[in-house]
Protein backbone atom coordinates (compact mmCIF):
# COMPACT_ATOMS: atom_id res chain seq x y z
CA UNK A 1 0.00 0.00 0.00
CA UNK A 2 1.41 3.33 1.07
CA UNK A 3 4.17 4.60 3.27
CA UNK A 4 3.40 3.04 6.59
CA UNK A 5 3.02 4.41 10.06
CA UNK A 6 5.71 7.07 9.67
CA UNK A 7 2.76 9.35 10.12
CA UNK A 8 2.59 8.21 13.72
CA UNK A 9 4.23 11.42 14.80
CA UNK A 10 1.40 13.09 16.63
CA UNK A 11 0.32 12.42 20.14
CA UNK A 12 2.24 11.79 23.32
CA UNK A 13 1.66 8.19 24.39
CA UNK A 14 -0.77 8.03 27.28
CA UNK A 15 0.37 6.67 30.59
CA UNK A 16 -0.28 3.10 31.66
CA UNK A 17 -1.30 0.43 29.18
CA UNK A 18 -1.47 2.12 25.81
CA UNK A 19 -5.01 2.87 24.68
CA UNK A 20 -5.86 4.27 21.30
CA UNK A 21 -9.15 5.59 22.63
CA UNK A 22 -10.75 5.70 26.02
CA UNK A 23 -13.69 7.25 27.83
CA UNK A 24 -14.28 7.90 31.51
CA UNK A 25 -17.71 8.45 32.99
CA UNK A 26 -19.09 9.18 29.57
CA UNK A 27 -22.69 10.32 29.53
CA UNK A 28 -24.97 11.78 26.92
CA UNK A 29 -28.55 12.81 27.36
CA UNK A 30 -30.99 14.17 24.81
CA UNK A 31 -33.59 16.02 26.81
CA UNK A 32 -34.76 13.45 29.33
CA UNK A 33 -33.58 10.48 27.30
CA UNK A 34 -30.33 9.02 28.51
CA UNK A 35 -28.49 7.72 25.46
CA UNK A 36 -25.20 6.76 27.10
CA UNK A 37 -24.26 6.58 30.76
CA UNK A 38 -21.21 5.61 32.87
CA UNK A 39 -19.24 4.37 29.91
CA UNK A 40 -15.58 3.66 30.73
CA UNK A 41 -14.39 2.24 27.44
CA UNK A 42 -10.80 1.32 26.65
CA UNK A 43 -9.65 0.52 23.16
CA UNK A 44 -6.16 -1.02 23.54
CA UNK A 45 -3.63 0.05 20.95
CA UNK A 46 -3.30 -2.48 18.16
CA UNK A 47 -6.51 -4.26 19.09
CA UNK A 48 -9.48 -5.00 16.90
CA UNK A 49 -12.30 -4.17 19.24
CA UNK A 50 -15.78 -5.30 18.37
CA UNK A 51 -18.54 -3.20 19.81
CA UNK A 52 -21.71 -5.17 20.31
CA UNK A 53 -25.14 -4.22 21.44
CA UNK A 54 -28.76 -4.25 20.41
CA UNK A 55 -30.04 -1.38 18.30
CA UNK A 56 -30.35 1.74 20.42
CA UNK A 57 -27.84 0.55 23.01
CA UNK A 58 -25.64 3.62 22.52
CA UNK A 59 -22.93 2.23 20.25
CA UNK A 60 -23.19 4.89 17.59
CA UNK A 61 -23.58 7.71 20.11
CA UNK A 62 -20.43 6.50 21.88
CA UNK A 63 -18.53 6.34 18.60
CA UNK A 64 -19.72 9.82 17.65
CA UNK A 65 -18.51 11.15 21.00
CA UNK A 66 -15.15 9.42 20.51
CA UNK A 67 -14.86 11.25 17.20
CA UNK A 68 -15.86 14.60 18.64
CA UNK A 69 -18.97 14.83 16.48
CA UNK A 70 -21.15 14.91 19.56
CA UNK A 71 -20.40 16.87 22.69
CA UNK A 72 -20.70 14.60 25.75
CA UNK A 73 -23.07 15.78 28.47
CA UNK A 74 -20.51 14.59 31.00
CA UNK A 75 -17.27 12.63 31.14
CA UNK A 76 -13.93 12.59 29.35
CA UNK A 77 -12.91 11.25 25.98
CA UNK A 78 -9.33 10.60 24.91
CA UNK A 79 -8.56 9.85 21.30
CA UNK A 80 -4.95 8.93 20.45
CA UNK A 81 -3.92 10.71 23.62
CA UNK A 82 -5.82 13.90 22.91
CA UNK A 83 -8.86 15.10 24.81
CA UNK A 84 -11.92 15.26 22.57
CA UNK A 85 -13.65 17.20 21.20
CA UNK A 86 -11.31 20.06 22.14
CA UNK A 87 -8.22 18.71 20.40
CA UNK A 88 -9.94 17.15 17.42
CA UNK A 89 -7.49 18.89 15.09
CA UNK A 90 -4.61 16.87 16.59
CA UNK A 91 -6.35 13.51 16.84
CA UNK A 92 -8.62 13.22 13.82
CA UNK A 93 -6.05 13.35 10.97
CA UNK A 94 -4.83 9.92 12.13
CA UNK A 95 -8.33 8.52 12.53
CA UNK A 96 -10.41 7.09 9.73
CA UNK A 97 -14.10 6.60 10.31
CA UNK A 98 -17.24 5.27 8.72
CA UNK A 99 -20.12 6.41 10.88
CA UNK A 100 -23.85 5.97 10.45
CA UNK A 101 -23.64 4.68 6.94
CA UNK A 102 -21.77 6.21 4.06
CA UNK A 103 -22.65 9.79 3.09
CA UNK A 104 -21.87 10.86 -0.44
CA UNK A 105 -23.25 13.10 -3.16
CA UNK A 106 -25.41 11.13 -5.58
CA UNK A 107 -24.62 13.27 -8.62
CA UNK A 108 -20.86 12.82 -8.31
CA UNK A 109 -18.95 9.65 -9.18
CA UNK A 110 -17.42 7.59 -6.41
CA UNK A 111 -14.01 8.90 -7.37
CA UNK A 112 -15.12 12.54 -7.37
CA UNK A 113 -16.74 12.04 -3.98
CA UNK A 114 -13.46 10.73 -2.61
CA UNK A 115 -11.53 13.59 -4.23
CA UNK A 116 -13.79 16.03 -2.42
CA UNK A 117 -13.17 14.29 0.90
CA UNK A 118 -9.45 14.00 0.22
CA UNK A 119 -9.25 17.76 -0.30
CA UNK A 120 -10.03 18.11 3.41
CA UNK A 121 -7.46 15.56 4.60
CA UNK A 122 -4.63 17.40 6.37
CA UNK A 123 -2.17 14.56 5.82
CA UNK A 124 -2.50 14.59 2.05
CA UNK A 125 -0.54 17.05 -0.05
CA UNK A 126 -2.44 18.33 -3.07
CA UNK A 127 -0.18 16.37 -5.39
CA UNK A 128 -0.80 13.10 -3.56
CA UNK A 129 -4.59 13.33 -3.62
CA UNK A 130 -5.36 11.57 -6.94
CA UNK A 131 -3.03 8.66 -6.16
CA UNK A 132 -4.40 8.31 -2.63
CA UNK A 133 -7.95 8.21 -3.99
CA UNK A 134 -7.07 5.56 -6.56
CA UNK A 135 -5.31 3.44 -3.95
CA UNK A 136 -8.30 3.66 -1.62
CA UNK A 137 -10.66 2.66 -4.43
CA UNK A 138 -8.44 -0.27 -5.30
CA UNK A 139 -8.28 -1.39 -1.71
CA UNK A 140 -12.04 -1.80 -1.52
CA UNK A 141 -12.40 -3.20 -5.03
CA UNK A 142 -14.10 -0.19 -6.59
CA UNK A 143 -11.49 0.71 -9.20
CA UNK A 144 -13.79 -0.10 -12.09
CA UNK A 145 -16.90 1.47 -10.57
CA UNK A 146 -15.03 4.60 -9.45
CA UNK A 147 -16.10 6.61 -12.47
CA UNK A 148 -19.77 5.81 -12.10
CA UNK A 149 -22.20 8.09 -10.34
CA UNK A 150 -22.77 7.28 -6.70
CA UNK A 151 -26.51 7.37 -7.39
CA UNK A 152 -26.26 4.06 -9.21
CA UNK A 153 -24.22 2.24 -6.57
CA UNK A 154 -25.57 -0.82 -4.83
CA UNK A 155 -25.78 -0.79 -1.04
CA UNK A 156 -22.61 -2.86 -0.86
CA UNK A 157 -20.72 -0.51 -3.16
CA UNK A 158 -21.83 2.48 -1.10
CA UNK A 159 -20.57 0.77 2.02
CA UNK A 160 -17.23 0.05 0.37
CA UNK A 161 -16.87 3.63 -0.79
CA UNK A 162 -17.41 4.67 2.83
CA UNK A 163 -14.64 2.31 3.85
CA UNK A 164 -12.40 3.74 1.12
CA UNK A 165 -12.99 7.22 2.55
CA UNK A 166 -11.86 6.00 5.97
CA UNK A 167 -8.70 4.57 4.42
CA UNK A 168 -7.64 7.56 2.27
CA UNK A 169 -4.64 8.12 4.51
CA UNK A 170 -2.62 5.56 6.53
CA UNK A 171 -4.35 5.75 9.92
CA UNK A 172 -3.47 4.86 13.49
CA UNK A 173 -7.08 4.19 14.39
CA UNK A 174 -10.01 3.20 12.20
CA UNK A 175 -13.61 3.25 13.46
CA UNK A 176 -16.23 1.40 11.46
CA UNK A 177 -19.87 1.62 12.41
CA UNK A 178 -21.69 -1.42 11.01
CA UNK A 179 -19.32 -1.81 8.06
CA UNK A 180 -20.91 -4.99 6.76
CA UNK A 181 -24.42 -3.55 6.52
CA UNK A 182 -25.91 -4.49 3.21
CA UNK A 183 -22.93 -6.51 2.05
CA UNK A 184 -23.21 -9.97 0.56
CA UNK A 185 -21.07 -12.77 2.03
CA UNK A 186 -18.23 -12.04 -0.40
CA UNK A 187 -18.30 -8.36 0.52
CA UNK A 188 -18.33 -9.25 4.19
CA UNK A 189 -15.27 -11.41 3.67
CA UNK A 190 -13.50 -8.55 1.93
CA UNK A 191 -14.22 -6.19 4.81
CA UNK A 192 -12.93 -8.85 7.16
CA UNK A 193 -9.72 -9.12 5.17
CA UNK A 194 -9.32 -5.33 5.14
CA UNK A 195 -9.68 -5.35 8.93
CA UNK A 196 -7.14 -8.17 9.16
CA UNK A 197 -4.71 -6.18 6.98
CA UNK A 198 -5.13 -3.12 9.18
CA UNK A 199 -4.57 -5.25 12.28
CA UNK A 200 -1.41 -6.72 10.80
CA UNK A 201 -0.12 -3.23 10.05
CA UNK A 202 -0.59 -2.32 13.70
CA UNK A 203 -3.64 -0.13 13.16
CA UNK A 204 -6.17 -0.12 15.97
CA UNK A 205 -9.66 -0.92 14.74
CA UNK A 206 -12.96 -0.28 16.46
CA UNK A 207 -15.82 -1.98 14.69
CA UNK A 208 -19.42 -2.00 15.75
CA UNK A 209 -21.53 -4.78 14.43
CA UNK A 210 -24.66 -6.70 15.09
CA UNK A 211 -23.23 -9.77 13.43
CA UNK A 212 -21.85 -11.79 16.32
CA UNK A 213 -20.10 -14.35 14.14
CA UNK A 214 -18.47 -11.45 12.35
CA UNK A 215 -17.08 -10.06 15.59
CA UNK A 216 -16.02 -13.47 16.82
CA UNK A 217 -14.08 -14.06 13.62
CA UNK A 218 -12.28 -10.73 13.35
CA UNK A 219 -11.91 -9.21 16.80
CA UNK A 220 -9.31 -9.53 19.52
CA UNK A 221 -11.39 -7.57 22.02
CA UNK A 222 -15.06 -6.93 22.59
CA UNK A 223 -17.14 -4.32 24.33
CA UNK A 224 -20.78 -5.10 24.92
CA UNK A 225 -23.25 -2.28 25.36
CA UNK A 226 -26.80 -2.49 26.56
CA UNK A 227 -29.25 0.32 27.25
CA UNK A 228 -26.56 2.96 27.12
CA UNK A 229 -24.10 1.31 29.46
CA UNK A 230 -21.07 -0.84 28.93
CA UNK A 231 -21.92 -4.26 30.36
CA UNK A 232 -18.65 -6.03 29.52
CA UNK A 233 -15.37 -5.36 27.80
CA UNK A 234 -12.02 -7.05 27.42
CA UNK A 235 -10.02 -9.63 25.56
CA UNK A 236 -12.37 -11.82 23.57
CA UNK A 237 -10.89 -15.21 24.57
CA UNK A 238 -10.65 -14.24 28.23
CA UNK A 239 -14.21 -13.03 28.28
CA UNK A 240 -15.49 -16.20 26.72
CA UNK A 241 -13.49 -18.45 29.00
CA UNK A 242 -14.40 -16.58 32.13
CA UNK A 243 -17.97 -17.40 31.36
CA UNK A 244 -18.07 -21.07 32.35
CA UNK A 245 -14.73 -22.64 33.07
CA UNK A 246 -15.38 -26.33 32.46
CA UNK A 247 -13.76 -29.29 30.79
CA UNK A 248 -15.70 -31.63 28.57
CA UNK A 249 -14.23 -35.12 28.73
CA UNK A 250 -15.24 -37.93 26.38
CA UNK A 251 -15.16 -41.33 28.01
CA UNK A 252 -16.96 -44.64 27.73
CA UNK A 253 -17.34 -44.92 31.49
CA UNK A 254 -18.96 -41.72 32.63
CA UNK A 255 -20.25 -43.20 35.88
CA UNK A 256 -16.71 -44.10 36.97
CA UNK A 257 -15.47 -40.71 35.84
CA UNK A 258 -18.04 -38.84 37.94
CA UNK A 259 -17.26 -40.99 40.95
CA UNK A 260 -13.51 -40.45 40.59
CA UNK A 261 -13.86 -36.70 40.25
CA UNK A 262 -16.28 -36.33 43.13
CA UNK A 263 -13.91 -38.40 45.26
CA UNK A 264 -11.27 -35.77 44.47
CA UNK A 265 -13.75 -33.05 45.55
CA UNK A 266 -14.28 -31.78 42.00
CA UNK A 267 -17.79 -30.98 40.86
CA UNK A 268 -18.75 -32.99 37.83
CA UNK A 269 -21.84 -34.26 36.11
CA UNK A 270 -22.37 -36.87 33.45
CA UNK A 271 -23.02 -35.85 29.86
CA UNK A 272 -24.19 -38.04 26.96
CA UNK A 273 -20.67 -38.84 25.81
CA UNK A 274 -18.74 -38.54 29.05
CA UNK A 275 -18.43 -36.05 31.85
CA UNK A 276 -18.33 -32.31 32.37
CA UNK A 277 -15.98 -31.10 35.08
CA UNK A 278 -16.18 -27.58 36.48
CA UNK A 279 -12.83 -25.85 36.55
CA UNK A 280 -13.62 -23.53 39.43
CA UNK A 281 -11.28 -25.28 41.89
CA UNK A 282 -9.03 -27.25 39.58
CA UNK A 283 -7.13 -26.87 36.35
CA UNK A 284 -7.67 -28.97 33.26
CA UNK A 285 -4.50 -31.09 33.84
CA UNK A 286 -5.73 -31.87 37.40
CA UNK A 287 -8.98 -33.21 36.02
CA UNK A 288 -7.32 -35.34 33.39
CA UNK A 289 -4.74 -36.66 35.88
CA UNK A 290 -7.47 -37.58 38.35
CA UNK A 291 -9.36 -39.50 35.68
CA UNK A 292 -6.29 -41.28 34.37
CA UNK A 293 -5.22 -42.22 37.90
CA UNK A 294 -8.64 -43.71 38.47
CA UNK A 295 -8.25 -45.81 35.30
CA UNK A 296 -10.99 -44.03 33.40
CA UNK A 297 -10.37 -44.13 29.62
CA UNK A 298 -10.10 -40.56 28.31
CA UNK A 299 -10.73 -40.19 24.59
CA UNK A 300 -10.85 -36.43 24.34
CA UNK A 301 -10.77 -33.43 26.66
CA UNK A 302 -11.58 -29.87 25.63
CA UNK A 303 -12.36 -26.58 27.32
CA UNK A 304 -16.01 -25.83 26.95
CA UNK A 305 -16.28 -22.39 25.40
CA UNK A 306 -19.41 -20.38 25.52
CA UNK A 307 -20.11 -18.92 22.14
CA UNK A 308 -20.18 -15.16 21.89
CA UNK A 309 -23.87 -15.52 21.21
CA UNK A 310 -24.53 -17.07 24.64
CA UNK A 311 -22.41 -14.46 26.37
CA UNK A 312 -24.16 -11.70 24.51
CA UNK A 313 -27.59 -13.07 25.29
CA UNK A 314 -26.78 -13.36 28.98
CA UNK A 315 -25.36 -9.83 29.14
CA UNK A 316 -28.16 -8.12 27.34
CA UNK A 317 -31.26 -10.07 28.26
CA UNK A 318 -31.34 -9.09 31.91
CA UNK A 319 -33.38 -6.07 30.93
CA UNK A 320 -37.15 -6.25 31.23
CA UNK A 321 -37.72 -6.28 27.51
CA UNK A 322 -35.42 -8.74 25.90
CA UNK A 323 -33.84 -7.14 22.84
CA UNK A 324 -34.86 -8.74 19.60
CA UNK A 325 -31.88 -10.10 17.84
CA UNK A 326 -33.29 -11.74 14.82
CA UNK A 327 -33.46 -8.98 12.21
Amino acid sequence: MTAQAESAVAGPSPEGPATAASTRGLRKTYGRTVAVEHVDLDVPEGAVLGMLGPNGSGKTTTIRMLLGLVQPTDGDVQLLGHPMPDRAAEALPDVGALVEGPGFHPFLSGRENLLRLAAAEPRLTSGRIPAAVDEALERVGLTRAGGRRYRGYSLGMKQRLGLAAALLVPRRLVMLDEPTNGLDPAGTREIRSVIADLHRDGVTVLVSSHLLAEVEATCTHVAVMNEGTLVAQGDLTELLESESPALEVSTTDSAAAVTALRAAHLSARPTPDGVRAELTRATAPDVVATLVDAGVPVYEARRSRTGLEDLFARLTQDSEEAPTWRS
Binding site: Q71, A89, E90, L92, P93, A119, A120, P122, R123, S126
Partner: protein, 289 residues
Protein backbone atom coordinates in the same frame (compact mmCIF):
# COMPACT_ATOMS: atom_id res chain seq x y z
CA UNK B 1 -0.20 26.14 -6.34
CA UNK B 2 0.78 25.82 -2.74
CA UNK B 3 3.80 23.83 -1.71
CA UNK B 4 3.11 21.62 1.27
CA UNK B 5 5.89 19.57 2.65
CA UNK B 6 5.36 19.77 6.39
CA UNK B 7 4.95 16.16 7.54
CA UNK B 8 2.06 16.54 9.93
CA UNK B 9 -0.18 19.36 8.86
CA UNK B 10 -3.23 19.67 11.05
CA UNK B 11 -5.57 21.26 8.54
CA UNK B 12 -6.02 21.22 4.83
CA UNK B 13 -5.32 24.58 3.18
CA UNK B 14 -8.42 26.76 2.84
CA UNK B 15 -7.74 27.41 -0.83
CA UNK B 16 -7.95 23.68 -1.51
CA UNK B 17 -11.22 23.42 0.39
CA UNK B 18 -12.68 26.37 -1.50
CA UNK B 19 -11.67 24.84 -4.81
CA UNK B 20 -13.29 21.54 -3.84
CA UNK B 21 -16.40 23.40 -2.73
CA UNK B 22 -16.67 25.37 -5.98
CA UNK B 23 -16.17 22.23 -8.02
CA UNK B 24 -19.00 20.65 -6.07
CA UNK B 25 -21.32 23.65 -6.47
CA UNK B 26 -20.76 24.05 -10.20
CA UNK B 27 -20.94 20.32 -10.90
CA UNK B 28 -24.43 20.15 -9.43
CA UNK B 29 -27.09 19.76 -12.09
CA UNK B 30 -29.36 21.97 -10.00
CA UNK B 31 -26.87 24.83 -9.95
CA UNK B 32 -26.44 24.70 -13.69
CA UNK B 33 -30.20 24.57 -14.26
CA UNK B 34 -30.76 27.64 -12.07
CA UNK B 35 -27.98 29.57 -13.78
CA UNK B 36 -29.35 28.62 -17.19
CA UNK B 37 -32.83 29.73 -16.18
CA UNK B 38 -31.54 33.05 -14.86
CA UNK B 39 -29.60 33.57 -18.07
CA UNK B 40 -32.69 33.09 -20.19
CA UNK B 41 -34.81 35.66 -18.32
CA UNK B 42 -33.21 38.81 -19.80
CA UNK B 43 -33.46 37.26 -23.25
CA UNK B 44 -37.17 36.65 -22.79
CA UNK B 45 -37.63 40.14 -21.35
CA UNK B 46 -35.79 41.78 -24.21
CA UNK B 47 -37.65 39.90 -26.91
CA UNK B 48 -41.04 40.32 -25.26
CA UNK B 49 -40.57 44.06 -24.84
CA UNK B 50 -39.26 44.50 -28.36
CA UNK B 51 -42.24 42.62 -29.75
CA UNK B 52 -44.73 44.47 -27.57
CA UNK B 53 -43.38 47.93 -28.34
CA UNK B 54 -41.17 47.95 -31.42
CA UNK B 55 -41.30 51.73 -31.78
CA UNK B 56 -40.53 52.52 -28.14
CA UNK B 57 -37.17 50.89 -28.53
CA UNK B 58 -35.66 53.84 -30.29
CA UNK B 59 -36.91 56.59 -27.96
CA UNK B 60 -35.27 57.35 -24.62
CA UNK B 61 -37.22 56.94 -21.41
CA UNK B 62 -39.83 59.53 -20.73
CA UNK B 63 -37.66 60.99 -18.04
CA UNK B 64 -37.78 60.80 -14.26
CA UNK B 65 -41.48 61.58 -14.19
CA UNK B 66 -42.42 58.31 -15.87
CA UNK B 67 -42.25 56.32 -12.66
CA UNK B 68 -40.03 53.36 -11.87
CA UNK B 69 -41.75 50.28 -13.25
CA UNK B 70 -43.38 51.51 -16.44
CA UNK B 71 -40.59 53.82 -17.51
CA UNK B 72 -37.93 51.27 -16.75
CA UNK B 73 -39.58 48.48 -18.69
CA UNK B 74 -40.53 50.72 -21.58
CA UNK B 75 -36.93 51.78 -21.86
CA UNK B 76 -35.46 48.37 -21.13
CA UNK B 77 -36.12 46.77 -24.47
CA UNK B 78 -34.06 49.27 -26.35
CA UNK B 79 -31.01 49.88 -24.23
CA UNK B 80 -27.86 47.88 -23.70
CA UNK B 81 -27.54 49.71 -20.40
CA UNK B 82 -31.12 49.43 -19.24
CA UNK B 83 -32.03 45.84 -20.10
CA UNK B 84 -29.39 44.20 -17.87
CA UNK B 85 -30.34 46.42 -14.96
CA UNK B 86 -34.06 46.01 -15.54
CA UNK B 87 -33.52 42.25 -15.53
CA UNK B 88 -31.51 42.47 -12.31
CA UNK B 89 -34.23 44.63 -10.74
CA UNK B 90 -36.95 42.16 -11.63
CA UNK B 91 -35.08 39.02 -10.59
CA UNK B 92 -33.91 40.65 -7.36
CA UNK B 93 -37.53 40.73 -6.21
CA UNK B 94 -37.76 36.92 -6.01
CA UNK B 95 -35.67 34.69 -8.25
CA UNK B 96 -32.18 35.81 -7.28
CA UNK B 97 -32.90 35.70 -3.53
CA UNK B 98 -34.33 32.21 -4.01
CA UNK B 99 -31.19 31.16 -5.85
CA UNK B 100 -29.10 32.51 -2.97
CA UNK B 101 -31.33 30.67 -0.51
CA UNK B 102 -30.92 27.47 -2.48
CA UNK B 103 -27.16 27.76 -2.33
CA UNK B 104 -27.29 28.43 1.40
CA UNK B 105 -29.73 25.54 1.93
CA UNK B 106 -27.55 23.05 0.07
CA UNK B 107 -24.38 24.25 1.77
CA UNK B 108 -25.26 23.11 5.29
CA UNK B 109 -28.75 21.57 5.53
CA UNK B 110 -28.36 19.66 2.28
CA UNK B 111 -24.94 18.37 3.22
CA UNK B 112 -26.18 17.35 6.65
CA UNK B 113 -29.06 15.48 5.06
CA UNK B 114 -26.80 13.48 2.75
CA UNK B 115 -24.34 12.85 5.59
CA UNK B 116 -21.52 14.48 3.65
CA UNK B 117 -20.87 17.30 6.12
CA UNK B 118 -19.63 14.67 8.56
CA UNK B 119 -16.89 13.65 6.15
CA UNK B 120 -15.30 17.08 6.27
CA UNK B 121 -15.82 17.47 10.01
CA UNK B 122 -13.97 14.18 10.56
CA UNK B 123 -11.06 15.07 8.26
CA UNK B 124 -11.03 17.35 10.32
CA UNK B 125 -12.15 20.71 9.04
CA UNK B 126 -12.87 23.00 11.96
CA UNK B 127 -16.37 24.38 12.09
CA UNK B 128 -15.19 27.96 11.65
CA UNK B 129 -13.32 27.03 8.48
CA UNK B 130 -16.27 25.03 7.30
CA UNK B 131 -18.51 28.09 7.55
CA UNK B 132 -15.89 30.23 5.83
CA UNK B 133 -15.67 27.81 2.91
CA UNK B 134 -19.44 27.47 2.70
CA UNK B 135 -19.94 31.25 2.79
CA UNK B 136 -17.36 31.74 0.05
CA UNK B 137 -19.13 29.10 -2.02
CA UNK B 138 -22.51 30.83 -1.66
CA UNK B 139 -20.87 34.20 -2.34
CA UNK B 140 -19.29 32.93 -5.55
CA UNK B 141 -22.48 31.34 -6.75
CA UNK B 142 -24.55 34.50 -6.19
CA UNK B 143 -21.92 36.62 -7.93
CA UNK B 144 -22.01 34.29 -10.92
CA UNK B 145 -25.82 34.36 -10.94
CA UNK B 146 -26.00 38.17 -10.94
CA UNK B 147 -23.25 38.42 -13.56
CA UNK B 148 -25.04 35.90 -15.71
CA UNK B 149 -28.17 38.07 -15.83
CA UNK B 150 -26.23 41.24 -16.58
CA UNK B 151 -24.21 39.63 -19.35
CA UNK B 152 -27.11 37.95 -21.14
CA UNK B 153 -29.15 41.15 -20.67
CA UNK B 154 -26.46 43.28 -22.28
CA UNK B 155 -25.89 40.80 -25.08
CA UNK B 156 -29.62 40.53 -25.78
CA UNK B 157 -30.03 44.31 -25.99
CA UNK B 158 -26.91 44.55 -28.13
CA UNK B 159 -28.24 42.00 -30.58
CA UNK B 160 -31.69 43.60 -30.67
CA UNK B 161 -30.66 47.25 -30.91
CA UNK B 162 -26.93 47.77 -31.36
CA UNK B 163 -24.47 49.59 -29.15
CA UNK B 164 -25.64 53.17 -29.66
CA UNK B 165 -28.40 52.98 -27.07
CA UNK B 166 -26.60 53.87 -23.86
CA UNK B 167 -29.08 56.39 -22.56
CA UNK B 168 -30.08 56.73 -18.93
CA UNK B 169 -33.48 57.22 -17.36
CA UNK B 170 -32.55 60.88 -17.04
CA UNK B 171 -32.24 61.17 -20.80
CA UNK B 172 -28.47 61.56 -21.00
CA UNK B 173 -26.26 59.24 -23.01
CA UNK B 174 -23.23 57.43 -21.56
CA UNK B 175 -19.91 56.38 -23.00
CA UNK B 176 -19.30 52.64 -23.29
CA UNK B 177 -16.84 52.44 -20.35
CA UNK B 178 -19.22 54.51 -18.23
CA UNK B 179 -22.11 52.21 -19.12
CA UNK B 180 -20.06 49.09 -18.37
CA UNK B 181 -19.05 50.66 -15.07
CA UNK B 182 -22.68 51.18 -14.15
CA UNK B 183 -23.58 47.61 -15.04
CA UNK B 184 -20.68 46.39 -12.92
CA UNK B 185 -21.85 48.64 -10.09
CA UNK B 186 -25.35 47.18 -10.37
CA UNK B 187 -24.02 43.62 -10.39
CA UNK B 188 -21.85 44.34 -7.35
CA UNK B 189 -24.65 45.98 -5.43
CA UNK B 190 -27.14 43.21 -6.25
CA UNK B 191 -24.53 40.60 -5.30
CA UNK B 192 -24.07 42.27 -1.93
CA UNK B 193 -27.83 42.10 -1.37
CA UNK B 194 -27.72 38.42 -2.32
CA UNK B 195 -24.89 37.80 0.14
CA UNK B 196 -27.15 39.20 2.83
CA UNK B 197 -29.88 36.76 1.81
CA UNK B 198 -27.32 33.96 1.55
CA UNK B 199 -25.99 34.67 5.04
CA UNK B 200 -29.49 34.49 6.49
CA UNK B 201 -30.05 31.27 4.52
CA UNK B 202 -26.83 29.82 5.94
CA UNK B 203 -27.98 30.72 9.45
CA UNK B 204 -31.28 28.89 8.95
CA UNK B 205 -29.42 26.11 7.18
CA UNK B 206 -27.28 25.52 10.27
CA UNK B 207 -30.40 24.78 12.29
CA UNK B 208 -32.03 22.18 10.07
CA UNK B 209 -31.25 19.24 7.89
CA UNK B 210 -34.09 19.95 5.49
CA UNK B 211 -33.06 22.27 2.65
CA UNK B 212 -36.73 22.93 1.93
CA UNK B 213 -37.11 24.58 5.33
CA UNK B 214 -34.44 27.08 4.35
CA UNK B 215 -36.03 27.83 0.98
CA UNK B 216 -39.50 28.17 2.50
CA UNK B 217 -38.22 30.44 5.27
CA UNK B 218 -36.43 32.78 2.88
CA UNK B 219 -39.37 32.82 0.48
CA UNK B 220 -41.76 33.51 3.36
CA UNK B 221 -39.43 36.17 4.70
CA UNK B 222 -39.29 38.00 1.38
CA UNK B 223 -43.07 37.93 1.04
CA UNK B 224 -43.63 39.15 4.59
CA UNK B 225 -40.99 41.87 4.20
CA UNK B 226 -42.56 43.01 0.93
CA UNK B 227 -46.02 43.17 2.48
CA UNK B 228 -44.72 45.05 5.53
CA UNK B 229 -42.84 47.36 3.19
CA UNK B 230 -46.01 48.24 1.32
CA UNK B 231 -47.88 49.32 4.45
CA UNK B 232 -47.39 53.02 5.05
CA UNK B 233 -48.60 52.63 8.62
CA UNK B 234 -45.46 50.62 9.30
CA UNK B 235 -43.07 53.14 7.80
CA UNK B 236 -41.09 53.16 11.08
CA UNK B 237 -40.23 49.55 10.36
CA UNK B 238 -39.12 50.07 6.79
CA UNK B 239 -35.49 50.99 7.49
CA UNK B 240 -35.00 47.50 8.94
CA UNK B 241 -36.46 45.62 5.96
CA UNK B 242 -33.84 44.36 3.54
CA UNK B 243 -36.35 44.22 0.66
CA UNK B 244 -37.14 47.93 1.02
CA UNK B 245 -33.59 48.77 -0.04
CA UNK B 246 -33.93 46.86 -3.29
CA UNK B 247 -35.79 49.62 -5.14
CA UNK B 248 -32.62 51.69 -5.02
CA UNK B 249 -31.00 49.63 -7.79
CA UNK B 250 -32.84 51.72 -10.40
CA UNK B 251 -30.80 54.73 -9.27
CA UNK B 252 -27.88 53.26 -11.19
CA UNK B 253 -29.72 54.32 -14.34
CA UNK B 254 -30.01 57.99 -13.38
CA UNK B 255 -27.50 60.63 -14.26
CA UNK B 256 -25.91 61.65 -12.00
CA UNK B 257 -26.42 58.66 -9.70
CA UNK B 258 -28.30 59.59 -6.51
CA UNK B 259 -26.16 57.49 -4.18
CA UNK B 260 -27.88 57.90 -0.79
CA UNK B 261 -30.27 54.95 -1.17
CA UNK B 262 -27.63 52.77 -2.80
CA UNK B 263 -25.22 53.36 0.07
CA UNK B 264 -27.96 52.89 2.65
CA UNK B 265 -28.99 49.63 1.00
CA UNK B 266 -25.40 48.40 0.92
CA UNK B 267 -24.97 49.13 4.62
CA UNK B 268 -28.24 47.37 5.42
CA UNK B 269 -27.08 44.32 3.47
CA UNK B 270 -23.77 44.37 5.33
CA UNK B 271 -25.65 44.30 8.64
CA UNK B 272 -27.72 41.30 7.52
CA UNK B 273 -24.54 39.63 6.31
CA UNK B 274 -22.76 40.02 9.63
CA UNK B 275 -25.78 38.99 11.70
CA UNK B 276 -26.54 35.99 9.47
CA UNK B 277 -22.99 34.67 9.53
CA UNK B 278 -22.72 35.22 13.29
CA UNK B 279 -25.85 33.19 13.95
CA UNK B 280 -24.67 30.49 11.56
CA UNK B 281 -21.31 30.33 13.33
CA UNK B 282 -22.83 30.23 16.80
CA UNK B 283 -25.08 27.38 15.79
CA UNK B 284 -22.47 25.45 13.87
CA UNK B 285 -19.92 25.30 16.69
CA UNK B 286 -22.46 24.01 19.19
CA UNK B 287 -24.16 21.58 16.83
CA UNK B 288 -23.82 17.81 17.02
CA UNK B 289 -22.43 16.57 13.73
Amino acid sequence: MEVMTEPARRTAPVSRLVRAELRWIFRRPRTLAVLGLLGVIPVIMGIALAVADPTGSSSPGEGPGAGEGGGLLATAAGSVLVLPIAALTMTLRMLLPLAAAMAGADALAGETATGTLRGWLLAPVSRGRLLLVKALGVATFTLVAATMIAVTGAVTALVLNGADTLYTLSGTTLSIPDALGRIALAVGWVTLQLWAVGAVALAISAFTEHPMVVLASVLGGIIVFTVLGSLDALSWLHPVLLTEAWWAIVDVLRDPIPDADLIGGALKAACYLVIGLSIAYARLVSKDG
